[in-house]
């Protein structure tokens, strides 16, 4: 009698526990970012904003999120090993992250083969949503060509006819400039010269600036990021070139993350990017305030990418996805209005479709700030060799 009662009680408890477990969905997220090395500050921005995004929007989804963080050290083999660990050992439902295109290239086959959805929170190389596209890889950040293409037409509209380009000689540098060059020449402009300083080996840009000066161009268009961007902008100013040859470029040149280090040299430089902290819309105002309150820093484009990754994940979960296959199918369908404006994913490539903002760096009351000059409408990337198979169900 007693044992029967005990058994009934145990059965009741167990079934209640199972029922409550069924209600609380736990989504396990693998966050792969550089926490050491040259890009550690970018990784940190993305991480902080991703966590902020989950805090802000996560409650709406009815699910709880567990985040497992791994450091890829910006090294492809390390990134691959950590990816395998996240997928096979930690058994995450979704992966987020990847700053470096090299790491993305290394893990692409593993992620695709294992059927794990990946939200790309930075890496911009065109192939990831081109020839190497995958139904499991959704990019919420940007593609290299997407950020530069609109400047081609815009510069022609400003009356610039001849341009000299400078960018570091590596895959990203080439993609950025090639996209600009194609658009600029198609709009009627002329590229009178190009320089490709050795990537991460050049610290002195004097020789290239001398060439640019001698070329007779109306303006100079460049791509640099990180430490190289700081050196380049300062050296450009030190040669007194801004007056005769205005400096334009891809927005990473004067990213909010490090523009202060450039000082007055950055004033007057006009660049284009998918996000600046001074965008005037209610979502951005809320985001900037929340990010500043949490970290004490002004958010950069890297931060907004992390924030929007969290938002995209939550939107996918709200649509009912809870496991790998469902998330992989739901992520390319998300669309929302965030700090960057209206965002959606292009199903042909799984790349984000977003407006690009042209802005000028000017001196403001609290330091350097960005004045938005124009917002160019959202355009999907050309398919670029992507043959998107249906996600296997």
């Amino acid at each position: 009698m007693k044992s029967a009662l005990k058994a009934a009680l145990a059965g009741l408890v167990t079934s209640t526990a199972m029922l409550s477990a069924a209600w609380a969905e736990d989504i396990k997220v693998g966050l792969l970012l550089p926490y050491s090395g040259v890009y550690a500050s970018l990784g940190q921005d993305i991480d902080d904003a991703f966590a902020l995004g989950l805090e802000t929007f996560g409650a709406d989804s009815g699910a709880t999120f567990e985040v497992v963080r791994e450091d890829d050290e910006v090294k492809p083999p390390v990134g691959l090993a950590k990816t395998k660990k996240l997928i096979l050992q930690d058994e995450v439902d979704v992966m987020v992250g990847v700053v470096s295109s090299g790491v993305l290239g290394a893990i692409r086959d593993t992620v695709d083969g294992a059927g794990v959805p990946l939200i790309v929170a930075n890496a911009g190389n065109d192939e990831a949503t081109g020839e190497a596209c995958s139904p499991y890889i959704t990019r919420i950040s940007f593609s290299n060509s997407q950020v530069n293409r609109p400047m081609g037409q815009w510069l022609v509209d400003q009356g610039v006819k001849k341009v000299f380009t400078i960018a570091p000689d590596y895959a990203a540098g080439r993609q950025m400039i090639d996209a600009f060059t194609a658009a600029f020449t198609a709009a009627g402009g002329e590229v009178v010269g190009q320089e490709w300083p050795a990537f991460q080996k050049t610290q002195d840009f004097g020789p290239f600036l001398a060439n640019a000066k001698a070329s007779g161009a109306d303006a100079v268009y460049v791509f640099f990021a990180g430490g190289e961007a700081i050196s380049f902008v300062k050296q450009y100013d030190s040669f007194g070139m801004k007056a005769a040859m205005p400096l334009y470029g891809s927005g990473f040149l004067t990213s909010a993350l490090y523009v202060e280090a450039q000082g007055p040299a950055a004033e007057g430089v006009i660049t284009a990017l998918h996000y600046v902290p001074t965008l005037d819309n209610p979502e951005n105002a809320a985001f900037v305030e929340a990010f500043k309150a949490k970290t004490g820093r002004i958010p950069s484009e890297y931060a907004v990418q992390g924030y929007d990754s969290a938002r995209a994940l939550v939107e996918a979960v709200k649509a009912g996805a809870t496991d790998r296959t469902a998330l992989a199918a739901a992520l390319p369908k998300v669309a929302f209005t965030g700090p960057r404006g209206e965002l959606k994913i292009d199903p042909a490539t799984n790349n984000v479709v977003q407006p690009i903002h042209v802005y000028e760096t000017i001196a403001g009351p609290g330091g350097l700030t960005q004045k938005v000059l124009a917002t160019l409408p959202a355009e999907a990337d050309p398919v670029n060799g992507c043959a998107m198979p249906a996600a296997t169900n």
Binding site: Q203, G206, P207, A210, G226, K234, S238, G240
Partner: protein
Amino acid sequence: MTADLGFWVLQTLNALQLSMLLFLLSVGLTVIFGLMHFVNLAHGSLYAFGAYVAATLAGTFGYWGGLLVAPLAVAALGAVLYLTLIRSQRRAGPMAQVLITFGLIFVAVDATRLVWGDLPIGIAVPAILDSQIALLGVEYPAYRLFIIALGLCVLAALTLILTRTQIGAMIRAGVDNDQMAACLGINVERMFFLVFVVGCALAGLAGAVAAPVLSVTPDMGLQILIPTLIVIVIGGLGSLKGAVAGSLIFGFVQTFGAVLLPTLSSVLIYALLAAVLVTRPQGLLPAKG
């Protein structure tokens, strides 16, 4: 483009400026090696430390304050390193030295990240040098001319000290044969210490001087290390003339190579290095022989 004299003048000035910066770095390293037979791979890290100190102090003391204090700070660090590590490892052989200084590089990079963070920091060029000077038909940044002038002054001062003073004679004797010099009553240990500390100070000066032009990042020491090593190996270990020759060769090959032969430029300098190592293993103008 190549017919334009202004282009050549501009590039020559760029090459000279790069050479002078490398000279400041390499002269310390080469004399330390020539005298003490100690190869210090962490020399680049000292340069980075100088840049960080200058950048930090520039906020409160201005650029010139930073420029003055940075070499002293690096010299102090050098003194500590010498007394704790270097002195005991002087006769340990090249492999041990390479490994220890390699270990120092590891520690230095992480220590820099710990204290100053991962973000690159910038330092402004001082106001009086923040302009362009018209020279030989081109407008050249005044600050870069300052770097060239500073390098030449240091070169002149070192030449004077080494050739015209007693301490200079002692140093040259020590480079030639340190044991014989010790027999002659020269306090070789004290000389080593002095040379090491001055070499470190020069590295710190190079860092402080370079900071406004290049950006200050945790791996700037690693980035400048290979060019510095190339300079002293091509130029010849142990001699001032070698440091000058090596710096000029590197500066000019790198600068002109980058714009005239862009695809070959990165391989070119290493090919040159290999050629020197094969034909004249001691370098072009070594201290001995």
